[in-house]
Every structure is written in structure tokens, then in C-alpha cells.
């Protein structure tokens, strides 16, 4: 591995003056009004937030997405038309209209929600579907990105993505538009998990999901 040895030797030859690694303080951000902050932040990035969970998720979905034919459900609360396990190939979710998934973590500062391969099982259901609906227990909200990165998923997951609003771009004339390549809309429903559901508050580990390292 000549390249490896050469590069490592080269970077050690005459490095910049030594510097200690600073301690990152525990910035607290919003602190106590997490739901309000989260809703405001999500609105800023063109996401939608449903603060009161609908009693019937299925009919809420039909009303919100009347044209939707293929619903991919990754949650126990809902029976969609497909589940992630139905996909043999990860490009198949391309014709999914709506993906419903539960997130184990939300960030009030940015309006972000976390999903990993544990929740998705097939990672592309989050990015190939036309619309994304995310269930989030408000108890799983943290104030800032700093607390978010303390979540064990960032140590253990093969794929972990902080999603913040629907996909977009401002590459043409600096005008922000939706969607770009990913979901056209992103809706977060603040709902604690029902019993027997895939609660996001379970500690990770001991999982049987494909793709875990």
C-alpha cells in the first residue's frame, strides 16, 4: 500500500503547530419550548407539522393524499399497500406515492427528524417516495443539533439521515423550489407510539434489521 504509507508519512512530516481539541459546550438552544420551536423551524423549511395526531391515520392519509395509490408503511400503526420488505430491489420504491415512517428523534432548532435503516429497512423509501409522512413522539424532541448527535444511532447506524423539510434546490437563478430529487412534501405528525408499535424510544441493539453493521 505505497500510497497509504506515502500519504501518512507526508502528513506527519511537518504538521502545523500542535493544538488541543477544544471541549464543545452543551449549548441548550430553545430549552423548554421544544414543540413550538420545532413547528416554527419546520415551517421555515416548507415542511408541515400536524401537532394533534389524527385518531384515524388511514383516513387522514386518504384526505391528505387523495390521489395516492401506493402507500409504503414502515409503521405498525398503519397498513399501507406495501411494506419495505416487499421491495426486492432498492430502486423499486420509485413508484411509491407516500411513505410513512416513525422517527426516533426530532431537533427543535432545525425542524429535523432522524431516520436510519432501522426505521426504513429499505433506505430509499425516504428519498424515492413522492411524499413523506413521519411520526414523531414529541418526547423525542431535543433542543439543538448538539443533543441530536448524542443519539446512539449516529454511533451505530449504517445510514442515518437528518431530514429537514421536503427536498429542494435554489440552483436556478437563486430561486428556492420544491421538489428537487427527493420527496415533494414532508409532514411530521407529533404522535406518541401506540402499544406494540415500533417505538423510537427503544434502545438500539439486538435488532433484526437488514443492513446493520
Amino acid at each position: 500500500m505505497a500510497a497509504r504509507e506515502e500519504i501518512l508519512t507526508a502528513v506527519r512530516q511537518h504538521p502545523p503547530p500542535s493544538r488541543d481539541l477544544p471541549q464543545v459546550p452543551a449549548f441548550q438552544g430553545a430549552g423548554d419550548r421544544l414543540v413550538d420551536e420545532f413547528v416554527a423551524a419546520l415551517e421555515l423549511i416548507e415542511g408541515d407539522c400536524v401537532v394533534q395526531p389524527p385518531s384515524d391515520l388511514q383516513s387522514w392519509l386518504s384526505e391528505r393524499f387523495p390521489e395516492a395509490k401506493r402507500i409504503c408503511s414502515a409503521v405498525a400503526e398503519l397498513e399501507g399497500t406495501v411494506t419495505p420488505e416487499d421491495f426486492a430491489d432498492w430502486n423499486e420504491p420509485a413508484d411509491v406515492d407516500v411513505t410513512v415512517v416513525r422517527s426516533p428523534l426530532g431537533v427543535a432548532e432545525t425542524g429535523s427528524i432522524l431516520v436510519t435503516e432501522r426505521e426504513l429497512r429499505v433506505n430509499t423509501i425516504a428519498t424515492l417516495a413522492q411524499h413523506l409522512v413521519v411520526l414523531l413522539d414529541p418526547a423525542d424532541l431535543v433542543p439543538t443539533i448538539h443533543q441530536a448527535y448524542a443519539h446512539p444511532s449516529f454511533q451505530k447506524a449504517a445510514y442515518a439521515v437528518l431530514l429537514s423539510g421536503p427536498s429542494g434546490t435554489a440552483d436556478i437563478g437563486g430561486v428556492p423550489v420544491h421538489p428537487a430529487q427527493g420527496a415533494t412534501t414532508l409532514t411530521v405528525i407529533l404522535s406518541p407510539p401506540t402499544d406494540g408499535g415500533q417505538g423510537g424510544t427503544e434502545a438500539p441493539g439486538g435488532s433484526t434489521n437488514a443492513g446493520d453493521p
Binding site: A3, L8, A10, L44, I145, A160, L162, G173, G182
Partner: protein
Amino acid sequence: MNVKPVDQARNALAFLEDKDQTASFHNLFDEGIWALRERRDAAAREVPEWEQLRDLASQIKEHTLSNLGDYLELFEANARRNGVHVHWARDGHEHNQIVLDILASHGVKQLVKSKSMLTEECDTRAFLGRRGIEVTETDLGERIQQLDHQPPAHIIGPAAQKMPQDVADLFHRVYGSDPQNAEPVYLAHVMREHTRPVILEAGAGMTGGNFAVAQTGAIVTVTEEGNADLSANVPKLRICSVGIEKVIPGVEELAVFIRLLARSALGMRITQYTSHFAAPRAGGEMHIVLVDNGRSQRLSDERFWPSLKCIRCGACMNTCPVYRRSGGLSYGATYMGPIGIIMMPSYDLHRYHELPFSSTINGSCSNVCPVEIDIHEQIYDWREEMSAKGEYSVTKKAAMRVADAVLSNPKAYRAASEVGETAMRVLPHFAIYNRLNAWGRRRDVPSPVTQTFHQWWARNRGDGVPPADASSERPSSETSG
């Protein structure tokens, strides 16, 4: 190889005088890019600890770079533990060859990729294209530039120099879309419709990496579109190219950068997709290529290593008044604007020896840089480097020698300055460089004065016989209109 040096000033003039553009294009470009600076300011205002975050980010990068060998080894060990293949490339060519070998061994003919300035450095797309691999950019701005055979004009918004109508015309030529419809929503839709099928059928996906987290062996990508996620997750084979300077210690440090990056680049608190890839997708294979390409050499440079702290946010070029009136393509380089000026001479001193002079050294860039690179000081120092290395035009050298001779000699200075028109030629500001009377092309020159301050002082306040030209009249010029 005799490479012609980039004449950024001439390119900037062409940008300003471009008759093909509408008269207001330059203003629109300047205002559009300045708007990013304003949004950045607004985002920073929301964060009371903003300056503290900048300090932390700078210190974290400096710590990491001063221990880069250890962090690279730690990163590699953790990535390998996760089942990722890690390769090392000394230069762009070696990188391209490694990528080619990986693709060839899997029989890949179609590759999709997300934005990576590193692959622009290495000219990877052209390399693969010549060897029968079709590469499709999935970032909208990159794709536009790819289709138009142009390099990126801005590191965040590659198509920044195009108006929506330019894109409508381009997409009409390539995709047969409606040339009358220049709405960005429509054009983004055209891109999505044509790129999706390519992504779904691609044999492999390639991404860059904003950060490489040593503690977890994960690569982090930051996008608005989600195209890095698609490129990484849809195909079974995934390659990630990342410069060795992208390594950071752990997720605690990552948080600092994530809070700074989107705010600095776009005035957004975070981009839509902040993605962490630690291991290959189920049933898939993941390769990381760690690339040097001059970084280790720059790291050893006592003066110019700080540019390695760069997290590619583009805030410096957004605030740079010269960039906003020159256009990004005027720099003729992979990296443009202030960060480009201090990085590119490391890649090719002669080719880019004029870039450090495409600046007024006003200091705005250094103060928006999230990792506190002293960019404008580096620009100043690069000028000294150019002078010391003889990368200086003959006329500039001559002008400096004249200035030295006159300004270091009080009597010579007074003699020269007191004689009307000659004064105009004493200062290098007014010296004749490669163009005659450059000052006077677009500006009036200052009016001649009745006497210099020296002469006035000698006549009115000094002792002894005043110089012959002195008068007791109050000196005047036309400043007061």
C-alpha cells in the same frame, strides 16, 4: 507543459462587458449572490453563540490537521470495521484510476454522482467518459454545467452565472422541454423527470463527502436535493471520494460544523439532507477513496496550510465584491473567489500567479469564514510569495523599483512630486502596467494642485528658505467640489 497564466482581470472585464447578457445581468448576479450574504447574516444573528462556534470550528480543524496522520488511521480502521473498503490516492490521476478499477471490476457502464469539488479537481468525469463510462451529475447545478460543458461557477451553486432562460434554452436543446417556460419550478421538474430513470438504472453511485468522522468511520454528505442519498442508496455499488483534510474527530465536533455550514452557505439552519453513511447498504458494497492531491504538501507549508480548514461553504465568495462583479468562471480554476485565490497557487504557481491580485484585501471574507481562515492575510502573503519567486510581470517589477527609488529618498520624492504631471507617475497606483493609462479609462484623475503639503509647510511653517515652487496661498484641489 507551458500553461498560460489565468488573466482573471481580463476575464472579469469580459464578464462585465458581455453584450450577450442583458444589461441588468451583472446587477442581478451581484444582488443574487449578495442576498446569500444577507441571509447568512440573518442566520448568524439567530445564534447568540455564533462567534464561539466559529472559534470552536477553527480550533477543531487546527487540532485535527496537526494530528492528521492519527485521525486518518483511526478513520480507516473504523470504516474497515464497518465493512467499508478504504483506498488511498496520492493524486487526481491515481484517484481516477482507483475509481475506474472499482467500476470496471463490477462491469459498470452508467454512473450517477452527487456534487464533489474533489472530483472536479481530479477531472474524474472526463477521465471516466473517455473510458466508456457514462457519468450523470445528479446535482441540478452540476448537471446544468455538465450539459453546457462548463465548469462550476460557484462551489455551492454551480450554475450561478446562468439566468433561468439560459437553463430553459439548454434543457430545450438537450431534453426537448418547453423553451418558453423559464420557471425554476418547471425546470427543476424537467431535471427530476430525466434524471430519475438514470439514477434508478445506474450501476453505481458516487458521492463526495463534507466530513469524514474518525470516531465512527462515517462519511457525511450535506445536500438540499437528496441526490447524494439517492446516488448512495439506489445502486448496490457506492464510491465516496473525499479529500484527506475532511477528517474530523467525532460526532460531537460534527455538530459544530453542521450548525455552521448551511447557515454560512445559504442562510438556512440546516440543509434538507444531512446524511451519515457508516456502512454499505444491505447487499451492497461501499468504497471510500481518501485523496491527497497536494494536500499533504500544503499541510507542510508553514504559511499556507490554513486553507485546509475550509469546509466548502462558499460564504467567502458570496461576500467578495470582486467575485460578485467578475463571475466565478473568471478565475479559470476549480475553486474560485477568495478561497480559490489562496488554494489554487498551491496547485500550479505559475498558472495562478495573478490570482492573489484579484482582490482589494478588504477582509470581509476572513470574517464570514466559519472556520476563521485568515483569507485576506493569506492573499497578502501570496503576493509576497509571487514577488519572491519572480512570478511578477516585467512592468510590475519595474514599477516597484521606481517606487522604491523615489519613495525611499526624501529629496528625490520631493523633486518628483512637486512637478505636476510627474507626480501622477510616481506612485505605483498610477504606474503604467500592461495597459496605458489604466486609471483614466473609467475614472477622472485627480486635478493638479498649486503646491504639495511639503511646499505649503515649508513656506508657512518651516524654517529657512522654502523650495522654489512654494507659495503662501492655501493649497487647493477640487475635493470640495
